[in-house]
Symmetry: C2
Subunit: 261 residues, 2 copies
Amino acid sequence: MIPVRIPSDHPRAESLHVREKLVQAYSNGIVATSGLIAHGRGEAFDYILGEKTTRPARNAIEVAAAILLTANSPVISINGNTAALAAKDMVRLGAITASKIEINLFYRSWERELAVKKLLLKAGAHDVLGVGANASAKIPELSSERRRVDPKGILSADVVLVPLEDGDRTEALVRMSKKVIAIDLNPLSRTAQKANVTIVDNLVRCAPLLTKVAASLKKKGHRECEKIAHDFDNGRNLAESIILMKNNLSTLAKAELAGRR
Amino acid sequence: MIPVRIPSDHPRAESLHVREKLVQAYSNGIVATSGLIAHGRGEAFDYILGEKTTRPARNAIEVAAAILLTANSPVISINGNTAALAAKDMVRLGAITASKIEINLFYRSWERELAVKKLLLKAGAHDVLGVGANASAKIPELSSERRRVDPKGILSADVVLVPLEDGDRTEALVRMSKKVIAIDLNPLSRTAQKANVTIVDNLVRCAPLLTKVAASLKKKGHRECEKIAHDFDNGRNLAESIILMKNNLSTLAKAELAGRR
């Protein structure tokens, strides 16, 4: 990979830096080929979203933090892209919310598992579930290696946070009666639609915010968290994200017409 | 790369097949790492567009064909993703419109140039410009290897078709007073905005259509083509694509709200 010089005044420098980080993690065997394509899809949705954390995203972040804090056995599921972009934040979130950290790769390989585990330990994790023979349980109705989960982790969890998950797995977890919190820039994806709480935001932006909100809510206590989690309507919140994107496109179309006339 | 079995009844089987084709070309050294991310961005915009060739795209295709047919020295610029997804169509279009074929890679390497050239020759090309020392001229104001062009091709062309081009290069070509025809699924990209004619469509869908339209327009003669090219307003046409995307999001937001209530 040829390194790219990104001028600091480039209008989309932030997005390009994140991309470089991901490509670097790809060379290190942490990110899969399909993870690069998935990242591109996210970039497009983020662009239409205005590359900022929206009000519905802030709502979902608060609810997600409240649910993690009141769960009996929460687990944060880590794949290659999440490890590459937000390992430290996820480990910190795990510590604040007493959530276990489990590696869960769509394309499992011993080498990738170890590379991701190494990164998580370096980010401060004490215990990393789902590696090798520990991922001995199976999610029903899923084929191949991606159904493997850790009996001490996702299998027995009541709440699972899945940043950047695929639709089949999200659906399978929901069918197992787990509460699923997803982070997904595409409000139209099956993951976004099937999850109980969907944070439509860039993982790089929302991970530190989620951690901060969790730390602050923790001080307010269990009952306050239960109240926040109770009244949330994910469908309505998703629709708000879609409407924001629609409005952004509307503004851009008007600018296009005005600029050319 | 682990091959993925795509069920033929999968709602997005077509898109997944195209993705597999690109990943295959990536393993063969034709597509660059950044080409995978770029493809992901395209997938997202295509999804919002409804994964079909729209009316404004058909307009732009007709105008593009007319401009290529009336050009003095048209060139089709081929990068890794274009070669992977539409080599045969681009060679056929070159034959119909008497356009030269030039390889123009963002990340140039001798190996990639040769791999792309081999693919183009296999697709029926007779002469492939822009390879190795033949790309001896430079586009002003562009840094590094991506400014290199062939004096017999892009440097002396009056019209350049750039499927899947980056913004800097498109701008540079426009500043050199070349008429630029772009194929880009993102109507908001700098390439889409700066080009003289922008086809907002999936390359896989529009390449055969562009070839067919060119063959049919060729029979109608030069004057008819000039007439078609004359009255086109790219800004207005782009705005129509953006409005279509906006309307699709609107419909999806309504479905989301209706389904959850």
